[in-house]
Amino acid sequence: MSIWNQHPNYSDDQLRQLVAVCSEVFLDSDTAAEQFPPDFLEISPAMAARQLGPVLEENGQTLHAESVQEVLQDPIPSRDLCIAILTEIKRSPELATRVSETYARRERKMGGPETVLLAGALVVLAIKLKELRWGPEGGRISFYESAETVKAFLLNLLNLSEHPPSPGNGK
């Protein structure tokens, strides 16, 4: 049974593992190897926020890195953000298959490194990598539209956090 059958109702453990696996699949692509160091998965939310700032400000908005960091660290919006990214990944059959196979292999390990929710790493990879390719025979996947969808979702979360709803005016 594929982990995608659980979408979007993952347990905390499943979500952590799946986000880690997705990040690893992204990072293993040739395009990621050109842009990111091999230990990128260990990036902190603060560092991820600084990487995302310039990309998110392409739309002309001014964003504080602290706001981005807060979203990445807050359990609720970071979970929502990860689910949104997983939804986009699930749309691509080839990418989804890579992820589910890697997830199934990870389940067969009798232990392994413990991890927190790698929201920062996954968000940066999902937004910055417009295309994924794995070797000359490994295929090529366009992630451009999905990356834009993820960026819009994150901007929406940030707009909500930077401009909280104003209290009712009594009418």
Binding site: P38, D39, R105, R108, K109, M110, G111, G112, T115
Partner: protein
């Protein structure tokens, strides 16, 4: 083949003024000394390998770093091939940062095979511990001159010692797939004439034979524990096996005089919060620290089939602290344990082959491990060194 015809060498490492050195002790007593690579080069490479194995979140990255060790620089850590060619078994005593390195995964270009395929290998953290493991090994109580084993040459095995009893226990406290882990444990145990797989209320430390006062029917030649391993990179003494609380049970600690104190778990070690446990279990960790308190065993072999059960840290006096070495210290003659994350698919390929070689063919453990690796790689060419070199033999090689 006769055991007495095997040639065994002791490869012991130390750090000199600027280089890594190794000594090779021959059976006749001659000693060769080899100057290996500069430690300014060695330690950087070793740190990168150990960091990736224990901490990297990317399996692909771990495999890339591991392959560089196996196929590129690892050979600088062993003497020239001509120096070790004569040996059938090599006992390796590392030093300092070399503890925990999978030297058996080094590719020998001249032989077109890995060191573990070419030689029987066993590790021990010190020569004195190796000596104690050999002294307490009941297999050595038999006449070693008459020990004949089947080296895949049709020889009928004849040795007075044969591991006859095994107790095993399997549990998956993280994902609830205990049936899978129990099956591995049962498959392991069934290879022996007398066997028991501890399930339910019988799954206790006391029944496993690991105790100051084990119950009378708990003297086992072989102990097999199948569970998730936990490696605490900050406090390695807190590393161990994730087991069900019922297994750990209570500990009766003898104080001065006749006083006995009962503890539920000593020393206390909570399961880390980021380790999510299946709600059906109350999990505990059988830690290295815990095994320092009133633990004894007389098992000939302990199989710690979980992740990173042989990974650890160098303490003062070059004492390497890991779960595997702790089992040797409390009385096991030999231990099979994993140096990083263990894949259950590989285990299911390798384990039956090792047990057939050791139990049915009467091979000494190091030769049985060597054979199992060769047989597994012959049938599964998709296994990379990172996949198959995970398990190592520690302690006595017989």
């Amino acid at each position: 083949m006769l055991l007495k015809d095997l040639k065994v060498g002791l490869l012991q490492y130390f750090i000199g003024d600027a280089h890594v050195y190794a000594t090779l002790l021959h059976p006749e007593g001659t000693l060769s000394v080899f100057r290996l690579l500069p430690y300014s080069e060695a330690f950087f490479l070793i740190d990168e390998l150990v960091d990736s194995l224990q901490a990297s979140l990317s399996e692909s990255h771990r495999k890339r770093v591991f392959n560089r060790f196996s196929f590129e620089w690892g050979k600088k850590l062993i003497p020239a091939i001509s120096e070790i060619a004569e040996f059938d078994v090599i006992l390796i005593v590392p030093f300092g940062s070399l503890h925990g390195l999978p030297l058996h995964a080094i590719w020998i270009e001249e032989r077109k095979q890995f060191l573990a395929q070419w030689k029987g290998i066993s590790y021990c953290q010190s020569a004195s511990l190796l000596l104690r493991c050999a002294e307490r090994n009941l297999a050595r109580g038999s006449d070693l001159n008459k020990w004949r084993f089947d080296a895949h040459d049709g020889d009928l095995p004849t040795n007075t010692f044969s591991p006859g009893s095994c107790v095993s226990f399997g549990v998956d406290v993280k994902h609830g797939n205990s049936a899978l882990y129990e099956n591995v444990a049962q498959t392991f145990a069934r290879q022996f004439k007398k066997h028991a797989t501890l399930i339910g209320s019988r799954a206790t430390v006391k029944n496993s034979g690991l105790s100051v006062d084990p119950s009378p029917d708990s003297q086992w030649d072989v102990i097999c524990l199948v569970s998730h391993g936990y490696l605490d990179s900050i406090s390695p003494e807190g590393s161990g096996l994730l087991l069900d609380q019922r297994f750990i049970g209570v500990r009766h600690i003898h104080a001065m005089g006749e006083q006995i104190y009962t503890f539920r778990d000593l020393p206390f070690r909570h399961v880390p919060p980021q380790t999510l446990i299946d709600p059906a279990f109350s999990a505990e960790i059988l830690t290295v620290s815990e095994m320092r308190v009133d633990c004894l065993t007389n098992a000939n072999l302990v199989a710690l089939l979980g992740c990173s059960t042989a990974a650890g840290e160098v303490r003062t006096g070059d004492d390497y602290s890991s779960l595997a070495s702790q089992w040797l210290k409390v009385g096991a003659s030999s231990v099979i344990a994993s140096l990083w994350e263990l894949d259950i698919d590989f285990l299911n390929e390798w384990m039956p082959r090792f047990l057939t070689n050791w139990v049915d063919k009467g091979q000494p453990k190091a030769i049985a491990v060597q054979g199992a690796i060769n047989q597994t790689l012959s049938s599964r060419c998709d296994f990379q060194p990172y996949d198959w070199a995970v398990l190592g033999l520690f302690g006595d090689w017989v």
